[in-house]
Symmetry: C2
């Protein structure tokens, strides 16, 4: 028996229509590449998205076409984010931190026909232009700031000028593709995830349901996470739903710039990867105070070091680990505590906050062993995390091999992450499967060792990687970026680890780097470290 209710497609265009009506007073504040601080409301954002969509139609962009961006967080990028899907086309965000090779690969693979870019990237694109012969460009600026370039480049503000500011958006099925984002390339080549209107809308609704209560009414949010990193974790869609104001940092992501922007714009909640918070905390410590209004941080992408979480929490900032992937839109779990958990002593709370929290509504989770057998949710058993839900990828764009490996016989997506789940639903990521160290038939979690090593005062950043070993299979090597000039000895660091780890879990050697190699989304690149230290000989093999 069917219900007797209307059926309207869940389309992303509904978000801007809603925000324009329902949230007077909310604003998009953008630190622009041109140097100014720009402000506009959701109604103006909708009006400009309408103008942009009309311009795109004039440029021949049709439903299903891929439109690319190579841009920082700012209002124009946000306008593209909404206009392109609203007209039935697909917004492909390219990560400017990819290598030139990778950029060309993804632009070709996606079939991009038009690329919106910030002034910053014009020199880079001039170099790549030969290898993207059919690409047309739109520069995100006004006529006064248009660069002198050999690219076939249009001016964004010119495109919009004088066009109608209202339209009825087209209607189409909610399963229509709306966005394309490639994975970070941490473990291999980036793979394309093709979001639908339905998946992005349900992601926005679920995010609002689990994070809204912590954020409070119409919060002021700083997405440090870029719009090219999994839709800035969904914020472009969640914000118009809950009436948030977005404070867009543009290219200025260093601690000092973020501190100033948070303070000037009364930012309450800021979202980004751990390395960003390292920079902000250094700034806070040098100034002796946090930005006044800041009270909430969402952190994901890689594990937040416990010491860093504690430093923020001691200042009254609620740090919320979230776990997710490009393939999960991305929010899969989030760590906000129950009222009972909030009442526990500091150390217990911090231990909880090391975990990745509880699943978000709509994402189902199971952990399985190598043979695909479900493991108990007892907080002990480790297994590969598999997920299922409307916001989870069913495969990869134009990549049959990766698609074939993605989903198990029951239709669940294999994350490649190793996790345990407690009986009360709390998820803890133990490692990436590719980063686990297999020693004498037992697993060593690199995350656990790193977290402990970071409590040593001379360790600024660190990574534990596996080196092959004839007897034990693999043994851990500790790679350290020292905080100052002092280089701590292996025994010195192991003294910190020993109370918490079994002796066979301790690293066999320590090496130092001046800078950690980072991936395009700001994660330590263990792939690079493994290559760099491939020939390192461990002490017992010398």
């Amino acid at each position: 028996m069917d219900g007797l209710m209307m059926h309207r497609p869940l389309l992303q265009s509904g978000l801007l229509d809603y925000a324009a009506e329902a949230w007077p007073g909310a604003e998009i504040v953008s630190r622009r590449v041109e140097g100014d601080l720009h402000r506009q409301g959701w109604a103006e954002t909708r009006a400009r998205a309408v103008q942009l969509s009309l311009a795109l139609e004039d440029l021949g962009i049709a439903p299903g076409d891929r439109v690319a961006t190579l841009a920082w967080n700012g209002h124009r990028h946000l306008e593209i984010y909404h206009a392109v899907p609203a007209m039935g086309a697909v917004c492909h965000t390219i990560n400017p931190r990819l290598s030139a090779e990778q950029m060309i690969f993804v632009a070709h693979h996606a079939g991009d026909r038009l690329l919106f870019t910030d002034l910053t990237f014009v020199p880079l694109l001039e170099k790549l232009h030969d290898r993207l012969p059919d690409m047309r460009y739109v520069i995100l600026t006004d006529r006064a700031h248009m660069p002198d370039t050999g690219l076939q480049a249009l001016c964004y503000e010119d495109l919009l000028e004088g066009r109608a500011t209202d339209r009825a958006w087209p209607e189409f099925p909610e399963t229509t593709a709306s966005g394309l984002c490639y994975t970070s390339g941490t473990t291999g080549d980036p793979k394309g995830v093709l979001y639908s209107h339905r998946s992005n809308m349900l992601h926005a609704l679920a995010t609002a349901a689990v994070l809204g209560p912590d954020l409070g009414p119409q919060p002021r949010i700083l997405p440090v996470v870029p719009l090219f990193h999994v839709n800035a974790w969904g914020l472009p869609f969640t914000a118009p739903l809950v009436g948030a104001s977005l404070v867009m940092p543009g290219p200025a992501l260093d601690g000092a710039s973020l501190w100033d922007l948070c303070q000037a714009e009364a930012v309450q909640s800021a979202w980004g990867v751990p390395t960003i918070w390292q920079g902000l905390m250094a700034e806070i410590q040098s100034r002796g105070a946090k930005p006044d209004a800041l009270r909430h941080i969402v952190v994901g992408g890689s594990a937040m070091p416990r010491s860093l979480t504690e430093a923020f929490e001691k200042m009254g900032v609620d740090v919320n680990h979230a776990w997710g992937m490009t393939e999960t839109s991305p929010l899969g779990s989030q760590g906000s505590l129950t009222p009972q958990e909030r009442d526990r002593p500091f150390a217990e709370r911090m231990a909880l906050k090391q975990g990745q929290g509880r699943r978000v509504f709509g994402v189902e989770m199971k952990i399985v062993d190598d043979a695909g057998r479900r493991q108990p949710h007892d907080g002990q058993a480790m297994g590969e995390l598999f997920v299922r839900g409307n916001t989870v990828a069913a495969g990869y764009h134009d990549n049959p091999d990766a698609t074939a490996r993605a989903v198990d016989a029951e239709g669940w997506f294999g994350t490649g992450d190793i996790a345990s789940i407690r009986p009360d639903g709390f998820l803890t990521l133990r490692d990436r499967a590719k980063d686990l160290i297999k020693s004498g038939g037992e697993w060593i979690s690199s995350i656990d060792v790193e977290n402990l090593a970071l409590t040593h005062p001379d360790v600024a950043q660190c990574a534990v990687i596996a080196l092959p070993h004839p007897k034990w299979d693999e043994r851990p090597l500790l790679v350290v970026k020292p905080r100052g000039d002092a280089r701590p000895g292996l025994e010195d660091v192991c003294a910190v680890l020993r109370p918490h780890l079994a002796s066979w879990q301790l690293p066999d050697d320590i090496v130092f780097v001046d800078e950690m190699p980072m991936t395009a989304t700001g994660k330590i690149s263990k792939l690079t470290l493994r290559q760099r230290f491939a020939d390192h000989v461990l002490p017992d093999l010398r």
Copy 2:
């Protein structure tokens, strides 16, 4: 181009699965008919819903079957609410305040085969039994409390006992019917609205998005609104999504009982119709204090008198008008203010709070004149409110006439409410179309006149209804339930109205009642008043 994301049906069973895992610490507290105060968590609620679903299968209930309830708010009613849809059957909530005729009508019309009922209603059902010959009954109690009855009645706790507490719920399309609720019968015969899993899930998600930030993390909510009044405004579905605790009042809805329950259970948010808040406010005034934790009220069903809103707000309780209908699941708009609006002076805020707030995400609104022409959203123009969205009825269960009248040529549902909408999105209901008074070609809003008349100290409740008039078409009659023994004169009340209304908007006469006739959902029944005063002769016609 289609997205490449998983497609999972949005099923209500996912809510209990989620709450059982994600919200340890949240609880369902129930004041039971047996007299005790019962507590259980979401995990136990899920386990018992599983047991119930297995029992229902044994009783022959199959997908699509209608299962009825005639019960107060309590955990067993909530278990039915989840178990019945989870197995693919349809939960039909019957309003015990309907007349016997209406009850029999809706039970037959719905095709109910099984009815769950509280002990309270056994005597009533014994009387109706002849006219429901095929009905089977389950009494919501344990063996010790089973009544001695001639009904063919099973015991709820017996049904559950010893059954398995876990199962995988069946999967079916999200458009499957899940619930059936009849309208309040304020303007005529009740009409059946048939909700789907999709509509209820999207309603829960949208409610969480707009109300979650005001409610805060894992709030303790008192649904005074009954489970038989439009799904208790969706709380059975929103609560497991956001991890709310529900404090269920059972049959004790008087001011004193509510005060005590709020205080004992640290209720933060309470939801119900205006008459309920009248009772609670009287209790607050007689005790000299509000329940400590209470800080948020959601009020709907009919307009909240301004004086009552102000009394709560002065005590620090945020009163949120919401507008909705059985046909809109019900949340259509809600009145929580923007941060800027919260900063305005008290009188301005209270004026805003007289309105019904802004539309909820997913519900589109237009106002149209008699010819169906759209009226501007300028805060002045009045028109019939039409709505569209996934949570809006496309027609009525087995009622082709009403269905044919329900939806306009563009596919919008006509609410029968007259409203204006401000440029900033704020909706104000001016009247029901059937209650508007047409005088000399102009409309008089009964709501406006009533709100003003209620500021007179001797007016406890009032209603303005139209009487036919040979010259003016219709003229307003003011019906008053006096506060004490004093009966204010017409001129006395008009003195209060005159500064705010044009002279032709003032009532022509005043009459008194000892009790206001109420509908089954606690609204003043103007239908009854119009009948009762049909022969009243206005002064200028005497």
